[in-house]
Symmetry: C2
Subunit: 335 residues, 2 copies
């Protein structure tokens, strides 16, 4: 994911302006939360929370808030909480991947070792749950803790099913639903819940977040296979290296162009990296990408429908435009 993915999703300056001040408040809230940790923990948390991420989850929560009655203080705290949960998962991911750099900064494990990084991730996660309990009611807490658990389980499923040729498309969608979409869903559904919306509307926005999360992950998986590193702003082809069975891989495996599907299957069976760069000019590859993109586009279309229940507003428009922008980004992968 590029650093500016969220800005990429915002098709106009106006949309950015819509929540720019609120995003600033979220960053201030994150800094304030750092102050609530114990003396010997604060300095580390301060450093960790300086990571300037894409703030996509807080952004989604804020735009949803704006579209459902306006951004309240509770939304700002909720948005900060979401980013802390996301940062906690990144801190643990970096330990697992032995990553030394993230967004041009040394990772916590590189700075202070794995031991402290694991504990800091745990602390951040439990602090975020505490913020959740301070913020909402019991139903809100359930929503939040379930989403966090889903993210963790999705990560486990991913790491245990590398090179797994038994994987089906249904498995893939279930996996990314947990790994990525659960937090998108709670960002939008949770924000709507804090706005006091009725059950049907909350469920509808939760569903929109979920669909957007799935589409976003499909895009990310397609980009890893076709993108140029410069444009994507990150290292690509890492999924192939690790043996992740993503959606385009699944389409390649069922391709009618037998030479290609056999080559991919053989490589995965031997737990070897598939050379997608070499395959990229084949018809099978192009079909696999375009079918994957179609799956993504079907989700964003459904996501737009979930918005119909909301009253028309600049924020609702902004959410709609965001889905169209994601469509554009996905379609660019087919060229």
């Amino acid at each position: 994911m590029s650093f500016s993915f969220f800005s990429k999703l915002r098709s106009s300056k106006q949309q950015l302006a819509l929540i720019r001040d609120d995003l600033k408040r979220v960053r201030e809230e994150m800094a304030a939360q750092v102050g609530h940790f114990a003396p010997y923990v604060k300095a580390y948390m301060g450093e960790i929370c300086q990571t300037r991420g894409k703030m996509i989850r807080p952004g989604l929560a804020l735009i949803t808030a704006a579209a459902t009655g306006g951004v309240k203080d509770s939304h700002v705290r909720f948005a900060a909480l979401l980013e802390l949960v996301h940062i906690a998962t990144l801190v643990h991911d970096d330990v697992l991947d032995h990553a030394e750099i993230r967004r041009d900064r040394p990772t916590p494990n590189a700075l202070w070792g794995n031991e402290l990084a694991v504990l800091l991730g745990d602390s951040l996660l439990s602090h975020a749950m505490m913020m959740g309990a301070d913020l909402g009611d019991i139903s809100f807490c359930k929503r939040l803790s379930r989403a966090v658990r889903d993210v963790c389980q999705g990560e486990i499923e991913q790491s245990t099913r590398l090179f797994d040729l038994e994987m089906t498309k249904a498995d893939y969608f279930e996996l990314i639903q947990k790994k990525t979409a659960a937090l998108f869903a709670v960002a939008m559904g949770g924000a709507a819940y804090l706005s006091g919306l009725d059950e049907e509307l909350v469920a509808s926005l939760d569903r929109m977040g979920s669909l957007l999360g799935v589409a976003y992950q499909v895009y990310d998986d397609v980009l890893d296979m076709v993108g140029s590193e410069g444009a994507a702003g990150k290292t690509l082809h890492t999924d192939a290296e690790k043996g992740k069975i993503t959606l385009p891989v699944l389409f390649l495996l069922e391709s009618e162009h037998e030479g290609v599907s056999t080559e991919v299957r053989d490589a995965l069976e031997h737990r070897e990296e598939v050379n997608y760069a070499r395959l990229s000019h084949t018809k099978a590859f192009q079909e696999a990408i375009s079918r994957s993109v179609d799956e993504g586009l079907a989700r964003t279309e459904e996501a737009r429908e979930a918005l119909w229940l909301l009253p028309l507003s600049p924020a609702r428009e902004s959410l709609t435009e965001m889905t169209y922008r994601l469509d554009e980004l996905m379609r660019e992968c087919c060229c």
Copy 2:
């Protein structure tokens, strides 16, 4: 801590009988919770949750429940949740310590690697928080999430203050309050809360759990320095090796027997292991142990006072006897 520490704390068979059936129900509940994880996560969780621990936190919750109106289903689920939180911290501890064996079984990191072990710990922790939200109200969730955060922060403080000669006794007590006593406190206070007790009684039992947790940790720290491995049932002198500044170390550092205090200070300054076995026959060492034990005894005495508010019952008696048994164990360290 020995495998049978909790049985050690129970001075008679009757006390064990008091909650034996309920502890069995807790184990069944833990097994049932395993079934709630995603298909690809279940098998790992099943393996992890087979660890037969001391069940000290569930035991405290159950005895508290028995002393405050009787053990309800919610208490059993709460007790299971507490053990899952505890197991999650052990899973992460084993990753950090590169431990391969715990209680005669291979650790998750030894079985499946660090990556999966970190994620499984995260999953267990967030699942436990979800169970908490399903179990109680918002005040209960706050209590629980704060305790879990305190445990994580205590661990961080410990790992960042190894060989730290700036450490004071106040720092030490604050650290173990978080690392160990927070979960003991929530075990007793949370169980009382689920029994529907009034605020004063809940606070009183929370305080008792906290005092018991502090005394327990003091005992554990003293035992690490004086115990024989056979009797303790675990590897000892690991605190010295790691450079942990525990209570007896702090008393040694302020000892009037200057030869000893200087030797300890010098070793810690050079980040070297102090040879406590060699010092163990000095007057300074014996004083440090007995002063530490006195601090522990002061806590158990205060813990007993917290019980006065409860109506007399076999379960209340059992809690009282438990504190006396801990006194005995601490005094044995002075011989």
